[in-house]
Symmetry: C2
Subunit: 504 residues, 2 copies
């Protein structure tokens, strides 16, 4: 059958329609979109689709049948002939240009989703889950870069082994033991280009189109986007103030037989909530009983404000099925493009081979400078500094929400990370709400972007890249517009919006 | 049917075999490898595969049928029941560990292929198509890094727009106009992590499993590996001293209807040969007539030794179907992990969205430092320096081959790049030949690694990372071992070896 995209006939150029249709069919055969033996749509159907006379379609089919390109079988339909004497354009003809959408055939990434313009208003960026540029330790990091380049820099400028430079892996092992209580063997680590590449490699290793994965509902938009690109089917596990519910998880393990479960057990994005301590080992054991891999995304576990963060799932007992992702993007800065995966050796070996196909290897220079910055104490000082700054901003945000948000609104109270989730008492029209706050320079992220289904009463606020003194003015605008939106009443939302990626 | 991998029964643990088989079937149902309605193999066949008694298989099937897990239909076979009352392991049971190969389901990258050990001999690296570390301009590049980090460095440490930093894109446009005669619009460029990522993104955008692509035969192993990972089918176009033959290309365009053709028209890897000037525009026009995209990999076009390199296909007329890949990895150093893709806007837009899923964005810092290094003249000086060095090494290699190789051997004479291809008068046993030269510290790359089919008389030599004075000693060892191998006679090789990736 004629496949998507539907054939188009250009009516602006001169010449009879049936001939244009004939040429379009020939073009599709030439491109391999239509293959020998494929059945063409009945003339009536195609005529309807194209908005042309049925006779036009018949004329095109007839000529092609006469040329031996199509074959007609009474009662069965019209088919592309098994052997087709196909000529390219005559050498003198001007090539008509490439119609690219006809050529795309692989991964289908979702459409990007954009925030509305804030005009010339200064932006209060409650939508950006990224660290504050003004806090970046540029000079200290520059010193580390210089030191590693001065001492044996040449080899840092060549290709790295795909899994990472051995010296960096040694550093990382020590670092993770001290900072995240993780004990890993040398063959159990892979260095990647940030945690998004970790997700992509894992998706490519485990998922076929149609496969099911479990996710926290709400979850990270970049993960939803990866699943969509690979045609995998995310199924949401319900969450409460202690993270995902285990009964629901077990029910879905048994019913859905997912390829894996993807979780952010520490300072989750978007809620900021951590998986309750009583559920952490239980989740790992439950997954092991079903032999379902657990993807643990620990992207911001070191940004804790009320005492230590909970230890990662991967640091606990029976965690051989946990595939752990870490990164310095949030605690230091994202421009490093570094991440790491910890997992049992067969997984690391597989992911490393996929990474080799994906990009041969990452930079060695930036990881080496990161290690140097950590070893010389710069990273620890930086972490203390940003923890204090982000703690103050979180407190400012919680206070402002308390003072200004309309009655009936609730929100999560994160002990770390840079995000929280607000729940409104009723659904609102998020497009209008976001347009209205954007006019005042205030941006946030609508709930539906994070949910497999629902989220029509939720919105995410980030406090990482908003100056402390800008938090309250931002919340005042948001609260006012939320109140108005609630008064206007919500527009019913489609049950499931296509998720896509906000900035992070 | 029971899918690969074949079920294994562990005979070392105690307990009856039929029960182990039963548990293995249950495990596969739990994992979703066996799904409701799947047919199990006949008892006789499975017994044969497992090397057990047929009664053992029947006993397992019978118990599972009694439990309602399987259903038996006379004359049709045994099936997984449509509704299965499946329990996980009892909570007290120790989870048995994850059998990872059962979980992998996505991309299947080929096994890595390794060179034999050279023991404690100093290596003469005729196998490595990478630039010489000892020539890297570490100090000059460090200065550029410092300058960009001092002037507005903070924003260079945050996330980049997925396509690249606008300032870098402006620089790149200018750079490509001056150095490669390329004229590109602002929406026609994408910055990526080296040319391997360019290949991977293009593969993911255009290819479905089973799709055909045309390649020069021989071609780059990293491209062959990418095709294999995506289950695409490369078909080789024959080449001569002028590159691919156009009659063969046209015949294959018509017969195979490939999704694209992948070529290295300038200083090709492994041959070092450039596509003849009379064939360059003709190839582009031919592809346009069939509307087949041309992937032009221009990884080393700036490493020319006998006058200017030919201009890229993308710089010529009617080149809207050319998707161009460039990189500084060979002319400067690979540790930058930078590459760029030039193509029409719909292609760039698509590839950018796939890159966003793949890793959000690359580093901004390293491209900025590269641009600074180029703008301040360091890059031009470096290119002059390495052209002189590699030219001398090429000449040393050609001279040494002339003096030492056995009669009947021929080789390509590259005007640029860092590789050439030797053709022997008869096939040899490459495993043995490589073992023998490795014992003397000399490594090369066997022909079959580069060929879709054949290559059993070819081998690749690289002169980029071998000091000039080491070239002749290396060739003397190679020539001696080739002579011995020819005297021993060749071992017939399989018609098509699985290609895999040497270091580059």
């Amino acid at each position: 059958m004629l496949d998507q995209p539907i054939m188009a006939i250009d009516r602006r150029t001169p010449g009879p329609l049936y001939r244009k249709l004939k040429n379009e069919i020939l073009r599709r055969i030439r491109l391999g979109v239509l293959r020998p033996g494929d059945r063409l749509p009945p003339t009536r159907q195609l005529a309807l689709e194209l908005g042309v006379n049925r006779g036009t379609v018949s004329a095109a089919y007839d000529e092609l049948t006469g040329d031996g390109i199509l074959e007609s079988h009474v009662g069965r339909g019209t088919f592309v002939a098994a052997l087709i004497p196909l000529e390219p354009l005559a050498p003198g003809d001007r090539p008509p240009g490439y119609r690219w959408p006809d050529h795309f055939a692989g991964v289908h990434p979702p459409e990007p989703r954009n925030y509305p313009s804030t005009g010339d208003k200064p932006v209060i960026a409650l939508h950006r889950n990224i660290p504050d540029e003004s806090l970046f330790p540029t000079d200290g990091f520059r010193e580390s870069l210089n030191e590693v380049l001065r001492n044996g820099g040449r080899s840092l400028l060549s290709y790295a082994p795909v899994g990472g430079h051995p010296e960096f892996l040694s550093f990382l092992r020590e670092y993770l033991r001290e900072n995240r209580r993780l004990e890993v063997g040398p063959g159990e680590m892979l260095v990647v280009n940030g945690s998004q590449q970790a997700l992509d490699l894992i998706g490519r290793a485990f998922l076929r189109p149609g496969d099911t994965v479990l996710v926290e509902d709400p979850t990270y938009t970049g993960a939803l986007e990866m699943f969509e690109a690979l045609s995998a089917r995310p199924v949401g596990v319900s969450t409460d103030e202690g993270g995902i519910r285990l009964e629901d998880t077990e029910r879905l393990f048994a019913r859905e037989r997912p390829k894996f479960i993807y979780v952010m057990p520490t300072f989750q994005n978007p809620t900021g909530v951590s998986l309750a301590s009583g559920r952490r080992e239980a989740l790992v054991r439950l997954a092991a009983r079903y032999e379902i891999p657990v993807i643990e995304d620990d992207f911001d576990g070191e940004l804790h404000y009320d005492g230590e963060a909970p230890p990662p799932l991967k640091s606990g007992p029976d965690s051989q099925g946990v595939i752990y992702i870490g990164t310095p993007s949030k605690m230091l800065f994202p421009g490093l493009r570094i991440g790491w995966i910890l997992a049992e050796e067969p997984v690391i070996e597989r992911l490393g081979r996929i990474k080799q196909v994906a990009d041969l290897s990452g930079s060695q220079l930036l990881p080496a400078a990161f290690a140097r910055f950590a070893i010389t104490g710069g990273l620890e000082r930086h972490k203390e500094k940003v923890r204090a700054a982000y703690r103050a901003r979180r407190d400012a945000l919680l206070g402002a929400l308390e003072r200004h948000m309309p009655r009936g609104c609730t929100w999560s109270r994160p002990a770390g990370g840079m995000t929280l989730l607000v729940t409104l008492p009723a659904p609102v029209d998020f497009d209008a709400l976001l347009e209205n706050t954007a006019r005042e320079g205030v941006l946030f992220t609508p709930g539906p972007w994070f949910y497999v289904s629902g989220g029509d009463r939720e919105l995410r606020l980030c406090f990482g890249s908003v100056a402390e003194e800008a938090v309250e003015p931002g919340v005042i605008v948001l609260a006012r517009e939320v109140r108005r939106a609630l008064e206007r009443g919500g527009r019913p939302l489609p049950a499931r919006r296509k998720p896509s990626l906000p900035s992070v």
